[in-house]
Amino acid sequence: MTALVLLDHEGGQIRKAALSAVAAATKLGDVHVLVTGDAAVVLAAVSIAGVSKVLHAADARYAHDLAEPLAALVASLAGGYDHIVAAAGAFGKNVLPRTAALLDVQPIPDVISIESADTFVRPIYAGNALATVRSSDAKKLLTIRSAAFDPAPAKGGSATVETLPGVDSPEVSRFEGVQLSTSDRPELESARVVVSGGRGMQSEEKFHTLDPLADVLGAALGASRAAVDSGFVPNECQVGQTGKIVAPDLYMAFGISGAIQHLAGMKDSRVIVAVNKDPDAPIFQVADYGVVGDLFEIVPQLVNALKK
């Protein structure tokens, strides 16, 4: 059996989450990957461990990963594959269900465990239940939760490359631009340590209280929806049911109450620390270590103690 992984990338780099999708796909059989646009990414993709072939969609219409042309292309390739797989991020969730419609398949999103070629485990209800589902479709289209699979090693493989011609599709969408956040910090989904702030951070300015802490820990910055909605930090920092799902070694929550929608995005972290002035905040029910108090006093103390 062969699986096709849609390898998403950003700024010439393969996303770590895509490597997790490759790792998941290796459990299903031989792995081919599809790379759009960037030739530099093709060069990197050939050495991913476990990948035997890289399909390069070099045509300009695929340069911005628009779902309409890309789904048409993937559907045209589907004949050769039993499984089509992508990371469960904005890219995969945009393209894969559309492809599924073209193939008359019910997709299986957010897979956290592969039980067999047709049976998968996925969280439902913001992770409050885990459903094991079996698909009767001839082809299975899956998105993979990266937190559940260690990424495939970026080195060690030696895949062949095949360049694909463009496939016709209706021209109904146009890429107009993208604003990517520029940050020297690690990517949220794959960081070893995440420092997160909630409404308790009070303002955009005061959110920067967390910067020195993230600096000493080499951490990514995360946030609750309340912090994002209040404009303290951009939307890509949101952790939760409708934001990013993270499972770092250490997750530190400051001024976050612990709503189930937030917990859905971080409760699989190895160690959770919560700092909140309310001793009854629900976040303490999932925290390994809690400190009750004012975060604006505690964070600077923490930075000092860690520098020692």
Partner: protein
């Protein structure tokens, strides 16, 4: 210009879901149900477009059990003009819902379909993209801003690294993210008025759509609960624990 908004009845987001003892699913009997929060945002966006004069009619549709009527009435109270309930026994999969919606789009000919980006029960995040695929229309998923001009929709989309802008020719599909707008509460007079607005009921079977699910639920289980840890009295203690007990720093 007509806008179609599919809305789903789900377990209210404030309720902590409980897995049934026999592992067959999540308990919904006797549980408070509400409109999927993302669908409230979708309805709000459509109603605002009509209020601005960019649209002439907002039609809401739900696929599901008879009680989904209540959800449709809520949407009518928020300002939608007309509702369609497509009756189907079970809660259908996105594939089947998208096929039903395709039939309704063929009949109603809307210029825009605005859906929620995901339903908070099954968290599939699929229906809008699948409908777009069936129709061959452009899709603006995870929208945080929508502008209509000159027969096109310009959509700001929340993507992993930031925000992306796409322009779609109409007709098109949009799926609403959290920051698209803040939905209004229906006022009492509007709730009363909604009772008189038209609500048409159809049978999924009459639309000629095969609703048979492709996924069989083998089992549904509770995730392993995390246990609450300990509260510490000082930062020094916290650092000591992180270094020597948890060994994460």
């Amino acid at each position: 210009m007509k806008i179609l908004v599919p809305v789903k009845r789900v377990v209210d987001y404030n309720i902590k879901p409980r897995v049934k003892a026999d592992g067959s699913g999540v308990e919904t009997a006797g549980v408070k149900m509400s409109m999927n929060p993302f669908d409230e945002i979708a309805v709000e966006e459509a109603v605002r477009l009509r209020e601005k004069g960019a649209a002439s009619e907002v039609v809401v549709v739900s696929v599901g059990v008879q009680q989904a009527q209540d959800t449709l009435r809520t949407a009518l109270a928020m300002g939608a003009d007309r509702a369609i309930l497509v009756l189907s026994d079970e809660s259908p999969e996105p594939l089947a819902v998208a096929k039903v919606l395709k039939k309704l789009v063929d009949k109603e000919e809307p210029s825009l379909v605005i859906l929620g980006k995901q339903a908070i029960d099954d968290d599939m995040n699929a229906t809008g993209q699948m409908l777009a695929g069936f129709l061959g229309w452009g899709q603006g998923t995870f929208a945080s801003k929508v502008e209509l001009a000159e027969g096109r929709a310009r959509v700001s989309r929340e993507v992993d690294g930031g925000t992306e802008e796409v322009s779609l020719s109409l007709p098109a599909i949009i799926t609403a993210d959290l920051r698209l707008n803040e939905p209004r509460y229906a006022s009492l007079p509007n709730i009363m008025k909604a009772k008189k607005k038209p609500l048409e009921t159809l049978q999924a079977a009459d639309l000629g759509v095969d609703m048979t699910p492709r996924l069989t639920v083998v089992s549904v289980a509770e995730p392993t609960e995390r246990k609450a840890g300990i509260k510490l009295d000082s930062v020094a203690e916290l650092v000591e624990k992180l270094r020597n007990e948890a060994k994460v720093i």
